[in-house]
């Protein structure tokens, strides 16, 4: 658990700009995420998620949920279920209801019950 959290920390530190697509390998599966609009602002935000294997072939998930938390504790998180656009491509819409720093968590459930999680910073969501 300590290692996992250190990894997450390192990952979070490495990701200073969230809009850059950023593949992360885990069990040979790469997860790419892109959030629009950029720069982010209060209101609906789309999270496009691409799953592929080591040979760049699309990977199907059983279920993908996206959660966004503010960097401040005690604020209400927002959740969205991603829907499949085409094989390996998923899209979720988050309703960012407050300005500030957010962290987007993507929970992927693969066939066979394996679960992956990705954390991505979404800094400086502009309030209107």
């Amino acid at each position: 658990m300590v290692n996992a959290s250190l990894l997450l920390l390192a990952e979070a530190l490495a990701m200073t700009a969230c809009h850059r697509t950023r593949p992360i390998d885990d069990a040979g599966i790469s997860i790419q995420q892109r959030i629009t609009p950029q720069p982010p602002r209060v209101g609906p935000a789309s999270v496009a998620i691409q799953l592929s294997d080591a040979a760049a072939r699309p990977v199907e998930a059983v279920r993908i949920t996206v959660e966004a938390d503010m960097s401040h504790p005690g604020m209400s998180p927002v959740f969205a279920e991603a829907r499949k656009e085409k094989p390996g491509d998923y899209l979720a819409t988050l309703n960012l209801n407050m300005g500030g720093d957010w962290v987007v968590l993507t929970h992927v459930e693969l066939p066979g019950g394996k679960k992956l999680e990705r954390q991505m910073d979404l800094r400086g969501v502009a309030s209107r």
Partner: protein, 501 residues
């Protein structure tokens, strides 16, 4: 409204009595120590320890989770408990009851345990027997809170708690009595200032009993009858002598005096909130408020810091920062933030209070010098400042009230011991529509309190021109109230780095 409240300073008590106390016993209607169960529990010698143990366990859990748990603040006990629940509960308890956090303070539990083995040898240095160190520390904490975005870092939060324990042990390991509480602890000073508007105080039940007391155990400690140097129950470590004690300043509600008094003459008594700010008697262990520039400075940081702390969380702060950064060609955060703090904690209060003091002298002809006059009226701002802390911390507390449930569930899951089930992250708190009216209520309460104090002080300063004395200070109060109102209606915008990129 203020005119209907009997004025203690005029009805004879405070100015005539060298101890500055109220002689009417009816001033206090209610005694918490006489309430069944609660009263007998608190009167028990070990009640403080019993209250401190759970708080200590929670702090240890916060440290461990903060250092080893998830790095995401909303999922970590250190940040959730520290910045949402602790701060909110602290101000609400101060508003509704008194300084019960200091009573349950976990730092003092560890320090008392240490003092079983290590007896401090030094007295706290005379030049430091004032509040200037805590004034600086309080401002420094507010500044670091913004600079390091403490709310978003469980790791920093955990280290702050560890650092606090270390500081307590070092200072109270070296210096006698409650040196840390009285002369260092910024949380304690926050509580002392806020508790001046609390509805209860630790006070003498019947002054006549004190008049005939020969032992003064409440301050000296109860001694072994055969050996006077053996202390069975210590007396007040904060140098507050019960018969001459006025109000809650410097009182940690530790109840040592309650246990030490051989006549069972000390209680936790009700009183009119903020009444201790309406008069200026000589206070045991403190002296006159109007002569304590250090406590007035603490009040300034308390009140204007409340606004600054809220300002750091709404979007206009980014506009202000980037404007400054462009104008001054400075691109690091620390100096820009430093300028903002200097402006809001030093320049703004100096201008507002300085002008109000000058107008009072010129217009109402009050016979006081300029600076002492300002010091005297600064205390009137406490309710307003406290209202702002209540509105801000109350906001986080109520809107994030239930988040402690999923975070605790997930901490147990992390431990590999999911006895509380899967975390329910959808549990958050009360809706904004309910919380916002509560905030405005706190701000209004603060304004009403501050205006009442100003009126009372003005009446004392000039019977003929009370309104002229009142007007400039009331204007300052209204300006601060409007600023608070404006802040609470700004869109929330909480960023780790406040420099616009």
């Amino acid at each position: 409204m203020p005119a209907t409240i009997p004025n203690p300073s005029r009805s004879g008590g405070h100015f005539d009595d060298p101890f500055g106390r109220d002689d009417e016993p009816d001033n206090h209607g209610f005694d918490l120590l006489r309430v069944p169960l609660i009263g007998s529990f608190l009167s028990w010698r070990h009640s403080r320890t019993v209250l401190q143990i759970p708080v200590l366990l929670v702090s240890v859990a916060m440290i461990v989770h903060g250092l080893l748990g998830p790095s995401l603040a909303p999922k970590n006990l250190a940040t959730v408990l520290g910045w949402v629940h602790f701060r909110g509960a602290l101000v609400l308890v101060l508003l509704c009851a008194g300084n019960f956090f200091c009573l349950a303070c976990p730092f003092m539990l560890v320090r008392n345990a240490m003092r079983r083995f290590i007896q401090p040898r030094f007295n706290w240095p005379r030049p430091l027997r004032n509040k200037w160190i805590p004034v600086g520390l309080f401002a420094l904490i507010l500044f670091s809170y913004e600079l390091f975005s403490m709310w978003s870092s469980p790791w920093i939060t955990a280290w702050v708690i560890v650092g606090y324990f270390a500081a307590v042990l070092v200072i109270d390991g070296l210096f006698k009595h409650a040196a840390f509480c009285k002369f260092v602890c910024p949380i304690g000073q926050f509580n002392f200032i806020a508790a001046t508007v609390s509805p209860t105080e630790v006070a003498v039940r019947d002054h006549e009993v004190c008049d005939s007391c020969r032992t003064n155990d409440c301050i000296r400690g109860r001694r072994e009858p055969a050996a006077d140097l053996v202390i069975l129950q210590r007396g007040c470590e904060l140098a507050l002598f019960q018969p001459a004690k006025v109000g809650n300043m410097d009182c940690t509600f530790c109840l040592d005096c309650v246990h030490a008094c051989p006549h069972d003459n000390v209680g936790i008594l009700s009183r009119l909130p903020a009444s201790e700010l309406m008069t200026d008697p000589q206070r045991s262990g403190i002296g006159f408020f109007s002569r304590r520039k250090d406590i007035a400075a603490l009040t300034v940081v308390f009140c204007f810091g409340a606004l600054m702390n809220a300002f750091g969380m709404v979007s206009p702060v980014y506009a202000a920062e980037s404007w400054l950064s462009i104008k001054l060609h400075i691109h690091q955060e620390a100096p820009i933030l430093g300028l903002l703090f200097a402006f809001f904690l030093v320049v703004e209060p100096a201008v507002l209070l300085g002008l109000a003091g000058w107008v009072t002298l010129a217009w109402a002809g009050v016979r006081r010098a300029w600076l002492p006059l300002i010091v005297r009226y600064t205390y009137a701002l406490v309710p307003l400042g406290f209202g702002m802390w209540l509105a801000h911390y109350g906001y986080h507390f109520f809107t994030g009230l239930y988040t402690i449930v999923p975070v605790t569930q997930s901490a147990f899951v992390d431990l590999g011991w999911p006895i509380l089930g899967d975390p329910r992250w959808t549990l958050v708190g009360l809706p904004q529509a309910i919380v916002q009216p509560i905030e405005f209520g706190f701000l209004l309460l603060g304004l009403a309190g501050s205006l009442s104090i100003v009126w009372r002080l003005a009446e004392d300063d000039s019977e003929d021109h009370a309104l002229r004395v009142f007007t400039p200070w009331a204007t300052v109060c209204v300006l601060l109230f409007l600023a608070s109102l404006w802040l609470m209606t700004q869109p929330m915008d909480m960023r780790a780095t406040i420099m616009a990129g």
